[in-house]
């Protein structure tokens, strides 16, 4: 299931601050369930933040990022009303995307 992302993008002078909260379990693959069976790894592997379709931040994650990950980034040159997106791709091939406008 594609996860939803809550995003806020706010201008602070000439810098735009983006805060995103993704819904994701971030399973490491090292944990076991109550029956002792290993829980398969399921984590976000790649995250991309764009501003008006231009990539402003790109990251690769391991399983050590917390569940329901939070990400804060800053970039210069944003203007109110510009489009900001955050998207992710999981190790299982799952994807998620969220979009907002700068205010």
């Amino acid at each position: 299931m594609a996860g939803k992302i809550r995003i806020r993008a706010q201008l602070d002078g000439d810098t735009c601050e983006v805060k995103a909260l993704m819904r994701h379990p971030m399973e490491t693959g090292l944990r076991k369930d109550q029956a002792g069976e290993p829980i398969p790894a399921n984590y976000i592997e790649e995250v991309t933040v764009t501003h008006n379709d231009k990539v402003v931040m790109h990251g690769y994650w391991g399983a050590a990022v917390s569940a329901n990950p939070f990400l804060g980034v800053r970039f210069a040159g944003g203007e109110a009303g510009d489009k900001v997106t955050v998207s992710w791709r999981g190790n299982t091939g799952e994807t998620g995307e969220g979009e907002t406008t700068i205010r």
Partner: protein, 158 residues
């Protein structure tokens, strides 16, 4: 369908469409310094092996401002913040977060695209009390700052 006469055409069309899609997917990669995932660094099981996989042990730098909690009650959610003082360290292209005693120390890697700030806020899991490392990479090499976080409840337990 009359497969025989148009079979070749269909295949050619298919390849053409495929190439277009491939070009569209590859395009964002050309707009910024494309980074491939350093799998070896993510798979490394101790800090020195992680540094070795990146190619260099970072030198200490005062240019990285690393904000971490001194004590984390819950190791599963440890907020961290990395900022770079661009007057000291300029042209930072990558930021890395490492947790010394996690099963795989490398937690995250970020590519700082030109125009964006070398600034990252996120939350990581910390298995046990240990040092957290913020590493910045620029053309001159790797730089780091480490800080200890005491964990009262582990981050990777069931």
């Amino acid at each position: 369908m009359k497969v025989e006469p148009i079979g070749g055409m269909a295949r050619r069309e298919f390849l053409k469409v495929g190439a277009l899609i491939a070009a569209a997917v590859a395009l964002p990669g050309k707009l910024w310094a494309a980074a491939t995932k350093p799998d070896a660094a993510f798979a490394a099981t101790d800090l020195n092996a992680t540094f070795a996989a990146l190619g260099q042990t970072p030198t200490e730098s005062a240019g990285i401002i690393f904000t971490t909690p001194d004590i984390a009650e819950n190791g599963a959610v440890v907020p961290i913040k990395i900022e770079v003082d661009e007057a000291v360290l300029s042209g930072v292209s990558r930021l890395y977060v490492m947790v010394e005693k996690n099963p795989n120390p490398m937690a995250a890697m970020f590519s700082v695209v030109e125009g964006s700030k070398p600034y990252i806020e996120t939350r990581v899991k910390v298995a046990q009390t240990c040092n957290l490392y913020a590493v910045a990479e620029n053309e001159e090499g790797f730089f780091m700052v480490s800080k200890e976080t005491k964990v009262t409840l582990g981050g990777c337990g069931g």
